[in-house]
């Protein structure tokens, strides 16, 4: 019977992606709840990155190696990981829900006749079974999901669902290197690059006024801009605004943009899709203005106003002006 837990450690552009440590914390909790050991899995040309995770409390670190794993491709990663899963027959494989994992893990799971329980935000192990919770409808609903049937369960956890600094440290796990076979790789990657050096570094800003679809037109951005200036802050946006070209991409907050944690974050007309929330949920004080009382942004807001931002923002600007004298 399938037994044990594997946790995938991701590295990219020459460094371990720290979200992997959150996956370690998730796997350790699952291990405690189901009485199973956790082994880390690192894919690469050699054991360089495997050697970096031996400090966690793990049964071991499995370094699956092949020269074709030097640069990430979904074909090579799926081939390599498939052999690891076949050899170990784990009960669970846990991944961080990153873009890289999204690219190859569904392919891997499909080879075992499965999908992933993807983008989970929490889980509960009870009575031998595990209930995973994931978000539906861009964060508007939660769903409790169980896996059924034989074999391995593949699950990914959303960034921020667990804390990397709470992954348990250990005595020094052993690295086991195994050579894996990789078949034909049908895509050739070129070197990753950044489009433009981000001209605006929003990670250092203390106050952010962010706009979403609710701003309705490019002309209306001036309204939010004025508020941001008054507060000595910066303007930012959710993805649709940058896609429309109303603000440059270096103003985008979220999984494909910047991740920020300012003292104050004012979200105007942003519904709060997961991809946006992961970029700003660690802000100190969060204000949300939205017409829809069910908008997910209110789940993480300290202050909320249900209403029209075109009524709220001018009054707010005026009142703050008064307070600032």
């Amino acid at each position: 019977m399938s037994n044990g837990i594997l946790v995938f450690i991701e590295h990219r552009q020459g460094a371990i992606n720290k979200v992997s440590y959150e996956a370690v914390a998730a796997a350790q909790e699952l291990g405690a709840g189901t009485g199973q050991e956790v082994t880390a899995v690192v894919l690469g040309a050699d054991a360089t990155f495997a050697n970096e995770v031996t400090g966690f409390k793990l049964a071991g670190v499995l370094s699956a190696e092949n020269p074709k794993l030097a640069d990430y491709t979904p074909d090579a990663y799926a081939d390599a990981f498939e052999q690891v899963v076949k050899q170990r027959d784990p009960a669970f494989v846990i991944f961080p829900h990153t873009y890289l994992v999204r690219d190859f893990a569904p392919k891997l799971a499909a080879r075992f006749g499965k999908g992933l329980v993807s983008d989970c935000i929490r889980m509960k192990a009870e009575g031998g079974g595990v209930v995973f919770t994931r978000r539906l409808f861009q964060g508007k609903m939660d769903a409790d999901v169980t896996a059924r049937g034989e074999g391995t369960v593949f699950a990914t956890f959303q960034s921020g669902a667990y804390r990397g600094d709470q992954a348990e440290r250990g005595e020094g796990a052993q690295v086991e290197s195994v050579q894996v076979e990789v078949g034909e790789v049908r895509m050739q990657p070129e070197a990753p690059f950044q489009e433009v050096k981000a001209a605006v570094d929003l990670t250092k800003t203390e106050i952010i006024v962010a706009i979403g679809r609710g701003i309705k037109s490019q002309e209306n951005i001036a309204l939010a801009q004025k508020l941001a200036e008054l507060l000595g802050g910066d303007i930012a946006a959710s993805r649709p605004i940058c896609d429309a070209g109303w603000l440059p991409i270096d103003r985008q907050i979220g999984s494909s943009g910047q991740t920020v944690a300012p003292k104050l974050y004012i979200a105007l007309g942003i519904s709060g899709a997961i991809q946006h929330l992961v970029g700003m949920k660690n802000a100190g004080t969060i204000v949300a203005v939205n017409k829809d009382p069910e908008a997910p942004i209110f789940d993480i807001a300290d202050y909320g106003i249900v209403g029209d931002l075109f009524e709220v923002v001018p009054t707010l600007t005026e009142e703050i002006q008064k307070l600032k004298g």
Binding site: Q13, P74, D75, Y99, L100, D103, P106, K107, A110, G113, K114, G115, L116, S118, D119, R134, R135, L136, F137, Q138, M141, D142, A143, D144, T146, A147, R148, V153, R186, M187, Q188, P189, E190, P192, F193, Q194, I207, R239, S256, G257, K263, L264, G284, T285, D292, P296, D299, I300, D302, Y303, I305, V306, G307, D308, V312, T315, L316, E319, K322, L323
Partner: protein, 257 residues
């Protein structure tokens, strides 16, 4: 050159969702539906590739109940050449593997040169159906694609990585790509297009496998998210009053301004 586009119908983005009586899904009776956002961009990309190549065929494949016809008709009006509708009233909650399996069977007979899909659905948000379908069809894939260059013999795609990084891949074809939202401006259907669509073929087929048979994850319960923070709602429906209270609270309670 033949391009297949996988398109799904999902509840309207602004829809107010209520949990269904059995607690396992949302009440669909009073919802309005629309095309899944990124699938719309996948179609647009297919149409542009066909135009650049100066010929070929764009075939829409949709899995869903009869109401999903509105997505198909709209795609035909925008310029798709024909459609295959895998009709089922029961696949609403299908997991990614089951949905991908049915779609892969519908695509297989088409032998396309390229398959495009949105990167994830706005309802379930699994983000896997395209990738699993590629595996089942034996095709190489690339996800979160924001630019497709097929001007030469080779297919080159630009992928979005995280935190502002990008990467180009050269792909063997046939291939499957999942397309990111917002990569182009989606065209409107013209009156001429709408008229022409009426003559285009929509072939109805039955799913090759029954829902549930090949799925391993079950939605046990759907509910409104537990609040992570105690939100203070201000103004009580009066936006201006709320704004005044907010200014005061930001100053004196949160002390952030």
């Amino acid at each position: 050159m033949k391009i297949v586009v996988l398109m799904k119908q999902v509840p309207n983005k602004d829809a107010v969702l209520r949990v269904r009586g059995d607690g396992k899904w949302v009440e669909e009776g009073d919802l309005s539906f629309e095309v899944n956002e990124s699938d719309g961009y996948a179609l647009e990309e297919a149409l542009r590739l066909k135009e650049k190549k100066g010929g070929g065929e764009v075939v829409v494949v949709t899995l869903g109940p009869q109401r999903a016809k509105s997505v198909i008709k709209d795609a035909l009006a925008r310029g798709a050449d024909r459609a295959v509708h895998v009709v089922t009233e029961e696949f609403g909650q299908a997991g990614p593997f089951a949905a991908a399996k049915v779609l892969a069977e519908a695509v297989r007979g088409e032998s396309p040169d390229l398959v495009l899909a949105g990167l994830q659905s706005d309802d379930h948000g699994y983000g896997q159906t395209g990738v699993i379908a590629a595996e089942l069809l034996g095709l190489p894939h690339a996800t979160i694609v924001i630019e497709v260059d097929w001007s030469g013999e080779q297919l080159r795609v630009k992928r979005e990585l995280e935190s502002g990084w990008y990467q180009w891949y050269t792909m063997q074809t046939p291939a499957l790509l999942t397309i990111q939202s917002g990569i182009s401006q989606i065209r409107y259907a013209t009156l001429k297009g709408i008229m022409a669509a009426k003559k285009k073929e929509i072939r109805e087929v039955q799913p090759a496998v029954a829902p549930g048979e090949s799925e391993f994850q079950t939605v046990e319960r759907v509910y409104l998210p537990l609040k992570q923070k105690q939100t203070q709602f201000l103004g009580d429906g009066d936006a201006k009053k709320g704004a005044a209270q907010l200014a005061e609270k930001l100053r004196n309670e949160a002390r952030v301004i």
